[in-house]
Structure formats: C-alpha cells, structure tokens
Amino acid sequence: MSRTARSARRRWLGETRYHLVGLTASLLFLAPLAWSVLVSFKPSLEARQPPLPPWPVEGFSFQNYENLAKFGAGIWTYSGNSLTVSAMTVLGTVIISLLAGYGFSRFQFPLKNVLFVLIISTVMIPFQSILTPLFLILTKLGLQNTLAGIVCVYVTLQMPFSIFMMRNAFDSVPKDIEDAARADGASVFVMLRRIMLPLVLPGVATVAIFAFLASWNEFLAALILLTDQKKYTLPVLMAAIRSGQFGTIDWGAVQSGVTMMMAPCLALFLLLQRYYIRGLTAGAVK
C-alpha cells in the first residue's frame, strides 16, 4: 500500500472515530429532550403506558396540552406569572449589576476589595439554608406571597455572579475610551448608555441569560414563598400536576409542561449565544 493511501485511510479512521464519539455524546444529551417532546404529543391514555417506544403509536394528539391548559387557574395565568417574574428578574439583575459592576471597575473607595469579596462569597451560602429568614423578612415587608417578593429574592441570588461578570466586562474596556467620551462632553449617564453599554453588551447578555434561566426554572423558593395557587410559577405548577389527583400522575401533562417550559430557554439561548460566549471569555485574552 502506498504511503498516501495509508495516510488517507488513517485520516478516514480518525475522522470516523471523532464523529462517532461526537454523535454518541450529542445523542446522550438530546435523547431526554426528544423523549419529552415526543411523549407530550401522545394521547393522554397512551402517555400513561410503559414508555417504549417513546414516540406516539396511535397518532399525534394535543390532548396533553389541553389537559395542561385546563389545570388550576389555567396555563396562561401560570405562564404569565413565570414570564413576569423572569422578565422582572432579568431587568432588575441587569440594571443593578451594570451599575455595581461599573462602580467596582472604575471607582476607588475604601474597603472596595473587601466589599467585592464579600458579595462574591455569598455564593457559598446554600440558599435553602436562608429560606426561613427570607420568608420572615418578606412577611415583615408585606412581600410574602407576591411576585414582587420572589423577584427580589431571585435578583439578590443573581447578584454575586452578575456583579462579578459586569465588573470584568467593564474592566476590559480601556479607560481612555471613557476619558474620550468625557472630553467629548458626555455626562456619566450618557457615557454609560451610549459608549459603555454597547461595549459591555456581551456581559449584559450573559447576565441576562443566567438571570432568566435561574428565575424561570427556580422551584424551591417559589414553592415556599408563594402560597396562593393563582400565583404559582410554572415549576411549582409542574410539581402540582405531577402529584395530581389521588396519587395518579398524568405523565402526558407533565411532559407537555416540560416541553413548554423548555421552549423559551432554548429560544433565548440560541438568540443570545453569540454574545454569551463572548461575555464569558471577555478579558481572557487581549
């Protein structure tokens, strides 16, 4: 066998192995998602049967979605709650971390580093352990069992990562650009909005994605802090459906709920992933 033929064969083998491993790994990741989506389209009765094969045998049906929609106060109420909570959390997180990150990056003040480390170190507190005090505080503030209250909790939990992220984003913008804007006559807020914000947008996108995913999927705090059934967010609703009437589980409704909850996360991530990668690696290489 000639040398070129041998090296071509070896390359073919290498590439095949490479693609096989990649294919297996992506199958492992995608299978549960595909399973959920497929089951959600089975008729309600079929969805309760043993799960093989995972795809609908007796034809596609939207029965599960109809059941889901009728549950409790109606799916739109819960989706609305979840969307409100997530949107407010994203907004709050972005605004606060933008300003705090700018402050930590640009201003010199006493105990700056101590304060920064203190904020970062709060990620080490398991938040389940402070749920009781949080509950009591929110009750005192009259925010218990309100969406605003839960937004406050989510925003607070997002702070360490978000402030860290935004400080790094601002650190990677040269000070000269800011000085140039000041010399051009921009006030602090004009400069932040027109010069700095576009430059730290990848960081903002990352912070926004994280805040959205965290608040959209959060279960425990929502379960404990929201007591009124009308105010449930989607994860709490899912738990309520699962432990349905008399211990029976409507698997079809659960899977359709999962599919519905997954969609906005995927859409948002695909929309912002370009910024997201840039944000995470900001300042890593010059």
Partner: protein
C-alpha cells in the same frame, strides 16, 4: 453650551502653582507655566515624570490637588473636561469601537446638540483636512494604526477647540508612520493655528514639533525653552543628557585660574571666563558628540581609546573609553575620517564646552 464660539480663537493656557498628589505621593510639585495663544508646546521627560498627568489635569480628566488652571483667561480648574474648550488625542486613539468613523467624529457635536446639517458639514470638513473621507463608514476595527490616529485627531478637530492636547499620539505607530504623522501634525498646527500641547518621551518629536519645549522630571519643570535653547543652552545636567541623541558626553574636569580648564592631563584655554565656577574646583564638562573633532597634534582636549564604531552611512559614531574610565561618543561626518580602532586624540572648540557643577547645575 455651543462649541462654536471657540472657533479659531488662540487661547493661552496658564498653570499657576499646580499640584497633584495621589494619596500621600506628590506627583506634580507646584508648576507654573504659561503657554501663549497659538503656541505649540511639547512636554517631554522620562516615563513617570508626570507629563501625562499634567496634560490630563489641563484636560480636566484628573483633579487638581492645588493651584489654578486658566484657559483663555478663564479659570477652568473645577470645570468638566467638555466645558474647558479643549480636545484631547489619546495614545491608544480611544475611538468608540462600536461606532463608524462618521459617528465617532459626530459624537461630541451630538452631545453639544449641534444641528444635524451643521454636524455633517463639520465632519466632512475634518475628513477633508485629514483625508479620511473614504473611511467615514468604516468601524475603527477595520482601520490601520495611522488611519485610527487620523480619526482620533479628526474627532478633536470637529469640536473646534480652543486648544489641542496630544498624549503621546505617535507612540503606537511604527517608525515610518510616526515620521509622516509628525509632519502631518506640524502641518495641522500651521493650518489651524490653535494652541497645542503635545506630550512625548521622544526627543525627536519634541525637537521637531515644538515652538517651546518643557522638560519635566519627577513632577518639576527642569527647563522651558525653544528647541535651540534647550539643546544649545541646557540649564542642568539632566536636560543636557536627556535632549540630544547620542547623549551629551559628560567628563570630569577642573576649572583652573586664568580661564583654563583641565581634563585628564590636558589644559585648554577658554575664550571667556565661567563666572559662576570656583577656581581649582572640580566641574562636569559637557560636550556634544558632534562637537568633538579628531586632531593629530599634541594640543588636544581628550585622549581616548576606540571601543567600537558604528557606521550609519552618512556619519559614524565612535564609542570610546577615556583613560579615566569614562565613556564618550564621538560623531564623525564624511568619509575622510576612517578610523575605527586604536587611540585617538580629540579636541573641541571651547565655545561648545558646557560646564556644570558637581550637583548638576549649569555654570555660565
């Protein structure tokens, strides 16, 4: 406030006992300086001498610890940068990366709420002056270093400032581009006639651009003067050594009675007395490399052994060692003097000799 009223005005810039401290560290120690309207002044000094800090204080980007800054007769010490009527060009260009060249140029005018058609007119005029018309719709990332610096200068021009401040604007350019941009800035000064302050650590830029040079060291002014004065008549050893390439040679000598000076065994007669020198006291003798000439006779000034020689084509640098161990550099022009090794004897016209005290002060 409109930026228009500044147009083509020639503003004086005055620093009165200006100080700057970062915490307990003093970086500018009470400077006094007056820059005349339309003058091109260069701040030069080694890194860390405070020249950029001083410029940023004039620009308003750095607070003044004490003292006053007066631009065009107005005390601007506590004013925002934008209200001082200055425009600054940064070493890193500091263009807004997310905006096109046109938006970069227009930004300052938009902030000042200038009418749209007026902005367009000014931007086009600046682009015309700097020949960046074809680049107006590009982003800074798509430009070369020289083009970016042009845009940065353009951004300064459109604001029609009272004065331009340049913070080492040529340092990031390659050698060739630096020379052409230097000429361009000189041309710009001639055309616009504004007051300009230019910070650099490059003495060639200082010598070629400046009407007056301000030599700074450790936050103090060492000397202010025209390039000629600074070069020919330095006030102290620091200025003498800092300006001029290769550096001025400094040799230990003794000032002798009868207008004579003794260097390593030789005695030379001076044309005029050095009034402030003490007789029989040690002095530092400064001689520029180009003022040393080879001599065949016995009555030289210095005897030196050639260490190595550098041929630059039009001239030759001889790096020599004196018997006393001091190093000197000799600049020889023309091809006649083809010495490159051995011991040589050098002399110098006494009028080119500069005397300094042991502490570095100039003796005249």
């Amino acid at each position: 406030m409109s930026t228009h009223r500044y147009s083509s005005e020639k503003a004086t810039i005055e620093l009165r006992d200006v100080r700057k401290s970062f915490g307990s560290v003093d970086v500018i120690h009470g400077l006094n300086l007056k820059v005349e309207g339309g003058e091109f002044v260069v701040f030069v000094g080694p890194s860390g001498c405070g020249k950029s800090t001083l410029l940023r204080m004039i620009a308003g980007l750095e607070d003044v610890t004490a003292g006053d800054i007066i631009i065009a007769g107005r005390d601007v010490t506590d004013l925002d940068p934008a209200k001082r009527g200055i425009a600054m060009v940064f070493q890193s260009y500091a263009l807004y990366p997310h905006m096109s060249v046109r938006e970069n140029l227009a930004f300052g005018l938009e902030i000042a709420k200038v009418a749209r058609d007026e902005i367009d007119r000014q931007v086009d005029a600046a682009a015309e002056i700097l020949k960046i018309g074809p680049l107006l719709d590009r982003r800074p990332g798509q430009l070369s270093g020289g083009q970016r610096q042009r845009v940065a200068i353009g951004r300064a021009i459109v604001r029609k400032p009272l004065a331009f401040l340049f913070d080492e604007p040529l340092s990031n350019l390659d050698a060739e581009l630096r020379v052409s941009m230097r000429i361009e800035i000189a041309r710009l000064h001639r055309e616009l006639g504004n007051t300009m302050i230019f910070v650099t650590h490059d003495q060639t830029e200082a010598m070629t651009l400046a009407d007056r040079i301000v030599v700074l060291r450790d936050g103090r002014i060492e000397q202010v003067g025209t390039p000629g004065e600074i070069y020919e008549d330095p006030d102290n050893l620091f200025v003498a050594g800092f300006i001029g390439s290769p550096r001025m040679n400094i040799v230990d000598a003794v000032y002798l009675p009868g207008q004579k000076v003794g260097v390593g065994g030789f005695v030379i007669q001076l044309d005029a007395p050095v009034a402030s020198a003490t007789e029989n006291a040690p002095v530092k003798l400064g001689i520029r490399p180009e003022h040393l000439v080879l001599t065949g006779g016995e009555n030289g000034l210095l005897s030196a052994r050639i260490d190595f020689s550098e041929n630059l084509g039009s001239m030759r640098y001889l790096h020599c060692m004196l018997d006393s161990g001091e190093r000197i550099t000799v600049e020889l022009r023309g091809s006649a003097d083809l010495v490159s090794e051995g011991t040589i004897r050098l002399t110098c016209d006494p009028q080119h000799l500069r005397f300094f005290s042991e502490s570095g002060e100039r003796l005249r």
